[in-house]
Amino acid sequence: MAEAAERTVKYIRIEPTKGWARIGFRNLYEFRGLLYFLVWRDIKVRYKQTVMGAAWAVIQPFFMMVVFSIFFGRLAKIPSDGIPYPLFTFAALVPWTMFATGLSNASNSVVSDSNLVKKVYFPRLLMPISAVLASVVDFVIAFTVLVLMGFYYGMAPTTAVFWLPLLVLLALVTSMGVAFWLGAMNVQFRDVRYTIPFLVQFWMFATPIAYPSSLIEDTTIRMVYAINPMVGVVEGFRWALLGSGTAPGPMILVSAITAIILFVTGAFYFRRLERSFADVV
């Protein structure tokens, strides 16, 4: 009896660590309850004390769509792979908005929750992860609008929609990967915080949101272009939902590889800097 009790006793050794640390998946799993509550908090709090409430999840991409349709679709006459331009750009803006809000919230997560970092222990990776996961709710709302718009324009989804969850996952992994890097750096230097809006804007124009990637005719260059993981996500969305062109298989593969590299290196980098968070933040 006593022996059994002894075996279940938790043992922790606290000592200085150096260099690269392990990700600690088991530890992350042990704290899944807290992850749930952090995501839940972010979602609950997001639209408190606003008039529009959750409608904000749609308003942002919707007005972007309106602006893009007027300037790029009507005035600049940018081609849209034979799809009505508003639908073409909205199908890209929906996953993009999820990626962008997730990325900026997650990059600021450690700094904005600094009181938690200083007062309680938990795997710090949960902070950017939960911030990114919370952006999925906005996505679901905006996605519903996207589907309704599709019906309005008479676009019936094909069986390719089953690829969508994987594409969403790709966007989330990218968002987390970048946020691990930026979030950890942000703790050391707040310069990062001011870089994020600029980076997001720059990244948006490097992603085929207002224009199709078919503008790039050379396939090799297009592969290089797909190193931006959001290229794969956006083109994948259009293909799966609107049936534009052929499956962007190789492009998505390239995108997925960069996303995974970003995610893994980001996680290790974050873990490495993590030990100084409480002292520096």
Binding site: A2, A5, E6, V9, K10, Y11, I12, R13, I14, E15, P16, T17, W20, G33, L34, Y36, F37, W40, R41, K44, V45, K48, Q49, D113, N115, L116, V117, K118, K119, V120, Y121, F122, M185, Q188, F189, Y269, R272, L273, R275, S276, A278, D279, V280
Partner: protein, 436 residues
């Protein structure tokens, strides 16, 4: 069972703080400095060098070679001045920050409370915050569900449960926060000064809750500045000073040592240099001492036992009628009482020059527990001249523990009041007289 719950070995923690950098001498230097520094920082950052990222060359050791063991079920108080390293130690034990050297070993589930209401969110309701805060402190959802009613009842905010926290008074927020924390049930509890919340009634409730925790046989590490609470709750104390362990032992001894270490407020004070001694032409103070029944200087006295306060002084101008007196203050700054020399031998009698020692016996079962500061005064009566008047010249600790021969009796909870006399009580049983 494991023989130690917490083992701390040679733990040291270094912090880098921004020092004043040498100013740039020329414009060229400062320009190149301004250009090179960001590049240097950025390279360090990308290479993952955390502390090297900021160029903070000045450093200090918040903790240095701290070692001690805590047995399972032991309640240990950690005391020390601000900046002694108490909070850093708790942060290391809570795994919030890593030690620079040394290691700690912990056997058992740790719950740490370094702040009340960590993670509370103003926009969420009381109910939601209980869940959020509970999970941040390490409770599972099932555990919170199970204790939810208890937590709410303890906090006394039932009616506001579905109101956003921002509409709570700060006292209500504190109560709710402490209630969540009080229902945490780890094997090892690490607490940092969280008792200083709420009104007196709620504090009392918190202290008795803490005592329950101790009785349940859980290991507790408790940082506090509330010395009476420390001596009552903890049998053992660790005193930290400048990052090292200064004393480790029975709580009342260590608390005594802590007060001794304080700003001149020890149990005895002497002025070996006559010219620096308080006083003037009429006379000077040589020493003030708190002594126990054995005549030894005592930092702490048992609440049940009498003790003595004495002033040792020298009169250089004879011919005055003198009035030595002491006044006693508790740690809240309340003047508990004043006692004047009423020795009949010297009543209305001018004293010749020379050395005197005036001693007063303070009875047992009279003062309340806690720290007592003594002011020492000597005046002449006619004409009235202040010979010397020294404030807080000595201090000592009154220790109270539950027992048959104390005013406290078997009550182990919070007991307030400036004095604690043991009085005669008599309760009659009158079963035959039921008429109302």
């Amino acid at each position: 069972m494991a023989t130690t719950a917490v083992r701390v070995r040679n733990v040291a923690k270094q912090f880098h703080i921004g020092g004043v950098q040498a100013p740039y001498k020329t414009l060229r230097e400062s320009l190149s400095g301004a250009l090179i520094a960001p590049v240097k920082r950025a390279t360090n950052l990308i290479r993952g060098r955390a502390t090297g990222a900021a160029d903070l060359d000045k450093s200090f050791w918040a903790l240095n070679d701290v070692s001690f063991d805590v047995a399972p079920g032991e309640i240990v108080g950690i005391i020390g001045r601000n900046g002694a390293g108490k909070s850093t130690l708790l942060k290391i034990l809570s795994r919030i920050t890593e030690p620079t050297k040394g290691y700690c070993e912990i056997q058992g589930r740790v719950g740490s409370l370094l702040e009340v209401g960590t993670g509370f969110h103003n926009e969420l309701t009381g109910r939601e915050n209980v869940y959020l805060n509970g999970s941040i402190l390490g409770m599972t959802r099932a555990e919170i569900n199970k204790r939810f009613d208890e937590i709410v009842a303890f906090s006394e905010v039932e009616t506001f449960l579905d109101t956003p926290l921002k509409h709570y008074s700060s006292g209500m927020q504190m109560r709710l926060a402490f209630s969540v924390a009080a229902h945490l049930e780890p094997e090892i509890l690490i607490i940092d000064e969280v008792l200083a919340v709420g009104d007196a009634a709620f504090q009392k409730k918190c202290l008795s809750k803490m005592e329950d925790v101790g009785k349940q046989g859980r290991t507790v590490l408790f940082v506090s500045h509330n010395m009476p609470a420390v001596t009552r709750l903890c049998k053992r104390c660790v005193l930290l000073g400048n990052g090292t362990v200064i004393a480790d032992g029975p709580a009342h001894h260590v608390v005594g040592a802590y007060l001794t270490e304080g700003a001149g407020t020890s149990a005895a004070r002497e002025w070996p240099d006559r010219s620096k001694a308080p006083g003037g032409d009429v006379g000077r103070l040589r020493a003030v001492r708190i002594t126990n029944e054995d005549g030894k200087v005592a930092d702490s006295v048992d609440i049940r036992r009498p003790f003595f306060v004495e002033m040792d002084y020298e009169i250089s101008q004879g011919g005055y009628v003198l009035l030595p007196h002491f006044s006693f203050y508790n740690e809240e700054g309340i003047k508990v009482f004043v006692t004047l020399d009423q020795d009949k031998a010297w009543r209305r009698r001018p004293r010749p020059a020379g050395r005197y020692v005036s001693r007063v016996e303070i009875p047992g079962n009279f003062l309340s527990e806690g720290t007592i500061f003594v002011n020492c005064n000597l005046i002449t009566i006619d004409p009235q001249i202040v010979v010397f008047s020294e404030l807080q010249v000595v201090a000592f600790q009154v220790i109270d523990q539950p027992g048959a021969d104390t005013a406290r009796g078997d009550w182990a909870g919070e007991l307030t009041g400036a004095v604690r006399p043991l009085l005669n009580w008599n309760t009659e049983y009158r079963p035959e007289d039921q008429e109302w």
